[in-house]
């Protein structure tokens, strides 16, 4: 089966790759474009560690057909930091010890970014719902929730960088 070309913007840069027609977006990101930020966890939509933003919308890269992303804007955890400057969410995850083994972290950060983009001042329950599709087996979730809360409250107080 012939490969198909897929072109999209990845973290602000135009990128292109050849993919099998049924390849998922995660395969193209990791194997085709060497973006190893999003992880392959369950492959069935349960764990959320492959979470990415497609045109600003939170999606699971493992369940997204790569060919359907033609012309889209893809954001992954790899594009969150601004050079040496961490994104406020990344900084907060460090400060609150919200990453232990780190496997869920790319998806957690991306889900949190999507949440704060549509709801800059979420309640605790809204934060819990915002990361409900992301499984963490280390932290017990509390440090992650606290990290997201701290960024939201900081932004509300005008401290977001």
């Amino acid at each position: 089966m012939a490969k198909v070309p897929v072109q999209f913007r990845l973290n602000g840069s135009d990128r292109a790759a050849f993919a099998d027609p049924a390849d998922n977006l995660l395969t193209v990101l990791r194997r085709g474009l060497n973006d190893f930020g999003p992880k392959y966890g369950c492959g069935q939509g349960t764990c959320g560690t492959c979470s990415v933003l497609v045109d600003g919308e939170l999606r699971l890269a493992c369940l997204t057909l790569a060919a359907s992303c033609e012309g889209a804007s893809i954001e992954t955890v790899s594009g969150m930091a601004d050079g040496p400057n961490l994104h406020p969410l990344q900084q907060a995850f460090m400060e609150h010890f919200a990453a232990q083994c780190g496997f869920c972290t790319p998806g957690m950060l991306t889900a949190a970014k999507a949440l704060l983009a549509r709801n800059p001042n979420p309640s605790r329950d809204e934060i819990i719902d915002g990361i409900a599709g992301n499984i963490c087996r280390c932290t017990g979730y509390e440090p992650i929730i606290a990290a997201i809360e701290s960024v939201a409250r900081g932004a509300a107080a005008g401290q977001r960088r």
Binding site: M1, D20, A22, C62, L63, A132, G133
Partner: protein, 273 residues
């Protein structure tokens, strides 16, 4: 030969492709089909994408509601006029899944998935199906689900149903062990016209209590003409298990599902859920 990919610009084109080739699989939100691809259950044939914007449209006109089969759970949640359906849409996965999972796809989700289909069953929805070229044909959702169980493959264009007259006439409950997102121990949807006085044409549907979403006909009979008071709720609870055939799976045993169903039904009817 690995999977191929085709793109249909219109629903009728998609229906024609599906009718002509039984090895073509319609790809909607991807949450079911791409999982099958990832896990090696779907390795041959053709994936079919539909880009027709009409497939994703939501139309609310007066009492009639039409949801395009390609509309997502997130689109339902973004629609203020569909607030009565928000609990059912919110029951499907986390935020990423809700941005992807579609109304049409949910009709094909195996138990214990398919929570939104339970809501549609309680609403007596008509499933608009396309089989080959031509106009969509209305199929009652119960008949559609029975056809799905027989392996009938048809393109779903949309689902249609009437809006409940009073917001409280429609209720939805998903019971899961993991909050806020988890697989269904059981799901209950009720549409009880006249729930503030005498109930007429009650519709009650269960998910995860049988191989397919099922109507709780015993409960419907028990509630007919009754008020939603202690007596009516007790009669409904007594009839709760009629027609159920739950499975034992990783989420719950069939025994547990039978034990807790009347409790949760009673709470839902009493407005305590």
């Amino acid at each position: 030969m690995p999977l191929a990919l085709r793109v249909a610009q219109s629903l009728s084109e998609a229906a024609g492709i599906l009718a002509a080739d039984s090895r073509t699989t319609l790809l909607s939100g991807g949450t079911l089909v791409m999982r099958d691809v990832n896990e090696g259950r779907l390795i041959e044939g053709t994936l079919l994408r539909v880009t027709d914007p009409a497939w994703r449209q939501i139309q609310v006109s007066g009492t009639r509601i039409e949801l395009g089969a390609g509309a997502t759970m997130a689109a339902i949640l973004a629609h203020r006029e569909l607030a009565f359906l928000h609990p059912a849409a919110r029951a499907v996965g986390g935020p990423a899944i809700r941005n992807m999972a579609t109304i049409g796809g949910n009709l094909f989700a195996e138990t214990p998935y398919g929570d939104f289909a339970v809501a549609l069953l309680a609403l007596d929805a008509q499933v608009m199906v396309l089989a080959g070229y031509g106009s969509p044909r209305a199929v009652p959702i119960e008949e559609f689900l029975a056809g799905r169980a027989r392996g009938e493959a048809r393109l779903v264009a949309s689902v249609q149903f009437n809006r409940p007259v009073a917001p409280g006439d429609f209720r939805f409950l998903k019971v899961s062990r993991v909050k806020p997102k988890g697989l269904s121990v059981l799901t209950i949807a009720t549409h009880l016209p006249g729930s503030t006085s005498r109930i007429g044409q009650a519709r009650v549907a269960y998910g995860a209590m049988a191989p397919l979403p099922v109507r709780a006909r015993g409960v419907e009979r028990a509630l007919e003409g009754k008020a939603l008071d202690a007596g009516g709720i007790a009669a409904a609870r007594a009839a709760a298990l009629e027609g159920t055939q739950p499975a034992t799976d990783a989420i719950a045993s069939d025994w547990y599902r039978r034990e807790v169903l009347p409790v949760h039904l009673g709470r839902l009817l009493a407005g305590q859920s």
